[in-house]
Homo-oligomer: 249 residues x 8
């Protein structure tokens, strides 16, 4: 609540157009529902331009169902759930309409958005076959928010000609998500070819000195290409969400 | 070079409008000047929308001067140099017009841009006084590329009311750069308040278990707020450059 | 044993009021029972103000039962067990009265304390739903020792207004336990709002660059708020125990 | 600002006892002075029970002087500065009355507090001679806030009888600060002897696999004694500040 | 083979007392049997004073059996196997006489030594109940080589009086093995009380910032007590073996 | 495509010997087949001298089968698959001729190469029995490409005479692969004995402070012997492939 | 000494052609000179094909001079010294003929080799200007041993077209040294373009999450390109030495 | 103080042979002098068989002098000081007789011991010239306590024949100290050759992935040779002290 909004409320109180109780409520009202184990923020769609998303990994299937129902009951048309186990997906699908992608463990409860909003194309590039679960998490997230997504898979830097053959798709993108494990060099190479933001997503793909994604993460943070920023290891959702944000500016 | 451009050149060759030599040159021409120790990319401004920038830390003052002169001689009006030592700055200023900010170690050789391009405001928020060198590196970079920058300094999360008092500036921003050392929580708090991209810059400010910025870096990568991405520790330039890119979409 | 106690014993010996054997015993008596695999300290309740607690994780269910029985036989009314597996809990409940909380893996054998001792309120604040097991371990520990506990759950910093709505509960607390995984920023924000001790508990909640709780741990150690101290990752018990200690000062 | 305070202000506005402008000011007034590079919080003494402290390490001597003058001009009688270099101390002492302890790099500008407030004794125990700078930072901080401090130095665990000879001082303490580098075992041993809170401060003293204090830090976090919590490496101030908080409960 | 042995062989060749073939064999003879996957050193008992030991963790039960049989067939009376799984133990016991200790996963195939050799007592001290598997690995190894072992268990530093009650056993030891997880402070405290070598064994017992034993390992390496050296995490065998070596000097 | 090849194509176009379409195709033709989840490079055998290899770990058995079939259909006689699970091997063997080595998890689909190409011998030396899976991955890879391989197993540095007995095999090698876990010293000792390249392969064999192979990896990187280079932990394939490359120079 | 050499010596002894003393000498003779602080290996040139090299960093200038003189006195024509400080170079040049390259800190005492031996070209590719010291260490080492070296500098992956323009040099190389700091992706991209061994040299160039070269090191170890192996951070010498070895196979 | 000593004192009190005050003194007497910043333990020579040693690194030259004087005044004939700076050594030598070794930074104040006690030889083996400072710290410490020391320097594993030439010295040792940086393999190779305890001392010698000695430390902890234990990085004193202890058993 900024100063002018506060001024406006206080003016109404001073003018008698609003009671003290109403003003207290307006200032302090809790724009979320308290389920005990979670506080559901029903105004977030308005405040932040995107509804709250459920991170499925740390929650029981019953907790997830309760949150979904609370959200659908408060007017949300659809709810995005990430890192959802197969078992929980099966459980949820008995109570609510559910789209579920087993590869990326992402789900949409309620209506699945189809309309593509205005904005440019988002390219999701992935270095190897093993990076696809994270890449799809990013791609499906971006599509959930109504973006047009172009997928470029298996374009890792050890076969740089595969990537260069897609130069036109890359240069036409408004924002690019680059997903890679192992040495994590894809965002640097892409960053040097284009003039749009590149969101780098390290994955935990690899073995040995890969250390669960640290290798790729450090590579991306140290990228010598400008215009590259990084999200957490395996955080396809984060990249998809941010790409949507940038695409709609 | 994408397919249609290649097609076009080949068609000219087939039509006799272009010699084989000319075509070879067009396809293979090196859009950079080779100084031996560096290859200056003079077409980067066209290809990527922003001229090449000189990272001053790993270069001698003589190398830096040569690169600047090469760039100014090829039509650049101004050149940005980051992490420039006081000593090198003094040396350069004897040969080229130089703006130098001692706090952030950033310099502009040639004309300093004054005109503010179209686009929204970029907010640069910094947690503490000690984070200012990095914050200023980001702010001056964004200004170099013609953006309007709003500075919010000393708004760390341990005094969250200082930040909330600037809610209006935050919500009016098109992109926010959040700079913090120590626990690095500023981007998470800001990310929860706004609906624009937040670029998080960890700094090496702190001591003990701070480990030269790792603490802040990990905090930012693990941010529970959506819409946050991260650049390297102390990489104010990277954030300023990317903010410019996003602001101009 | 301090100097005056020693003096007193020696004086009795010198006066013939105590035999050498009795003195030896008094000075050297072992205030614990030796079960072979463990030495149970039956005077700890007197010496440290709180009975010994059983850390369930590294022990077999039979070992745990033996320790409980030894303690109940020596006059303890109830025994706290932490990190107790479901299977061990089931086994124990066949032999002793047992309260068991499956979420936090905490149990109380014997009578469960009900009376609330004097002292102020202890607030247990948790950032996200996934932090609840650790938060409940802290809360139930504090309640075991007779403290009044106020729970504030799902008040993470990415939705700082949820936390600010509970400012009155926070400012009325005598000591606050702040539990958070991921970026672990909750203790810093709370520490800046109140003037009582804040005990920070990092949790292993998260993924990727979270590194099993290191991210949250480092954030809390580097907190820019004063009055914050930290216990081990996932150590809800430690925070609950220390909060009780402080509350009873 | 909690609900009742807000209610009170709004009631005054409704009753006409307060103008809209006055109410806005009361709700939104900035309880700090903006020096550009820093925002000085002049109400913190009231809100948090202790005035703001200046962390000297990341600031220029001129910045520090400006902050001190701003605070003294707003009614503070004395200001605590930590990690202050000899050079800055000399500079400051030309403009303001300054107590400076070269060992711990701590300073007090203005009047140095002498009166000892109510409350129990705070024991500061240090393992070795090399830990004294950090121990003194803790002790002087606690004394600055009016506490009675007992120093037990060179009582490391490799000579456990030195520590046991001071059992009476330890058991009489209301809160103990245990400072140690190297293996950092002091807090565990003390924690097992007493029933008051033990604040553990790892120091960066040592070499080799000490890794700048990590060894001691991890030891303290993993303490098998209950009632121990930890602050950052070398953070004597933080421990002294928190000890004062606990002592005054 | 040292110079005098070589001289002796060469002299025999020069004198015609030894053929070239015999000399070659004597110099080059392979004092081990090659099983393909392993080379069994049958002279090690002579050369190093102790027979080869089988590290069970990285081998199949069939490989282990073959090695045991090869050793028993070459005159060994008994063979020590460490880190042996329950399943492999059951398999082996069908073919060879086997003593197996489930707690420490240590086994003896063939005759189990009973006679106690000359030498002083070896004390094995363990901090907590959870450290017993490693402590028993050390104790049983030392006993396998004919040493008298005194066990002091559950004597962690958080109850330092439990340890001090055994001061006489400690001071009578010729070498002490100190086993501890968590903060790993036991060797430091013991090292300060005695004047014999202390072999420190960190264990992976603990959780959170324990990091699989790193915390205890670093503590022990940084011990401020003299006369302490360290073996690998959980390496009870290594400590038992070295203690035997020292005890027999 | 280098300059002369490009010149040649362009000359043909200029001479009318090649249409624009043909030239475009020649320059841009995609030398791989796109299976959606993977792009199979069918020209790699020509371009790099060795066919593409399938890294089995991150792929489903169905994906692997599709890639094998695509490669065999394009003229490959045999395909190498690494890190293949038993289950996938069983599945594949129902559809294609398959050699599978359970120890090293390496497989060859199609014809298994038998002919030994020209070139010297490759020695694969392994420190311990537990390193054999990685050593065999290296050896079988080198044999797959037609090299003669000499295996020296169980020649770890703690029994340096076992290694020295094989000095002649070592000095006759053209390239040596040295595989070791734990302290990883084998490559250093070998590197000091020979004058051919030594490829060091750290394995994750060991426990405690081994940290999944980091100990051996660091040892090998810090080798004081010249002529040693290192591949990733457990990367037997990488060493075998590179040894083949060097052997055929 | 292998079996046949030993046989030969023993046969001579048996035949009376060699005395026992001579044989002892031949077998045991120390092929190095003992300077007390160092043992100079004068036969290494014969045994390993390359003379010993002096690692200058950990030695005093006087120690270095003594070693050089010992080597030159034993018939070496030239001696390579790495990581030599300016000051030591100046000192040495007063006593022996010295070539010194200040950038790479590499020196040659005695005659500097000029003749180029047979063998293919070695390409040294460096990502950025700041990597030149390490790249030159590699290049000058390879030249010292008589190889023809092609330098490709400033060809980092963020400007991949700069690298591709040198495809012909790359494909004509017999072995390639790829030097890079920051994200260290250069070896992966090169490895995918060529079919010769690629020796990757990580440099400590960069800042922040670069961690003194760890980022580049991990990238290179995790390279998805085959045929890549890695040497220690900043170890240009090691790569140059190994490249020479491979080139001469 | 063990039970029998306590009994004895108490019996004297009961018999009237000792006053209460005398007994108190005997039990509680502080066997150290308190200098404020340090507590000097004057009975340690009796209790632990070796006088206290001064760790010079963390103390001022004045503190060191005071401790030395206190010790010499209480009957010590000589005092060992480690890690003593040149400057402090010069200062001390003006007040007390001082032997100072600049290489190892070790000093002896007072009389320097010359008599060699009974016991076997201690071998100090060092891998490279750069390891000599640490090796000499170990050797001089052992000599200070009256041991006979044999030095074997520059016997690193990359030239294993240099080490094998000293097999007789190694096999005749009663305890061996093996000092090495870089890959730290020396203790493993030595451990496999001898049947006496090997004390491994990692040094911080090296660069790049050496990480200040971590590489050597991990190698030594993971040694596959039995009978090896490890002290802290660069802790030559610790190894020398422990070797003395073992040698005198």
């Amino acid at each position: 609540m900024n100063k002018s909004e506060l001024n406006s409320i206080l003016n109404k109180v001073a003018a008698g157009d609003m009671t003290v109780e109403e003003a207290t409520l307006a200032i302090k009202t809790q724009p979320y529902e308290d389920l005990g184990f979670a506080k559901i923020d029903h105004h977030r769609g308005i405040r932040q331009g995107a509804s709250e998303v459920i991170y499925g990994a740390g929650k029981t299937k019953k907790q997830i169902l309760k949150i979904i129902e609370s959200m659908l009951n408060h007017g949300e048309k659809s709810v995005l759930i990430t890192k959802l186990s197969n078992e929980s997906a099966e459980y949820l699908s008995q109570s609510v309409p559910l789209f579920y992608d087993e590869l990326s463990k992402i789900a949409v409860a309620g209506e699945r958005a189809v309309a593509v909003n205005a904005g440019g194309k988002i390219v999701v590039a992935a270095a190897g076959t093993s990076d696809l679960p994270v890449a799809e998490e990013a791609a499906l997230t971006a599509e959930f928010y109504g973006n047009m997504v172009v997928r470029l898979y298996d374009v890792g830097v050890a076969g740089v000609h595969r990537l260069l053959d897609h130069l036109s798709e890359l240069t036409e993108a408004k924002v690019i998500i680059a997903v890679a494990g192992m040495e994590g060099a894809l965002p640097s190479v892409i960053g040097g070819l284009v003039d749009c933001p590149v969101l780098a997503v390290p994955t935990s793909v690899g073995y040995g000195a890969n250390f669960g994604g640290i290798s790729a993460l450090l590579s991306m943070l140290n990228s010598c290409a400008s215009g590259v920023s990084v999200v957490n290891i395996d955080n396809g959702f984060g990249a998809g969400y941010l790409a949507d944000m940038i695409n709609k500016i």
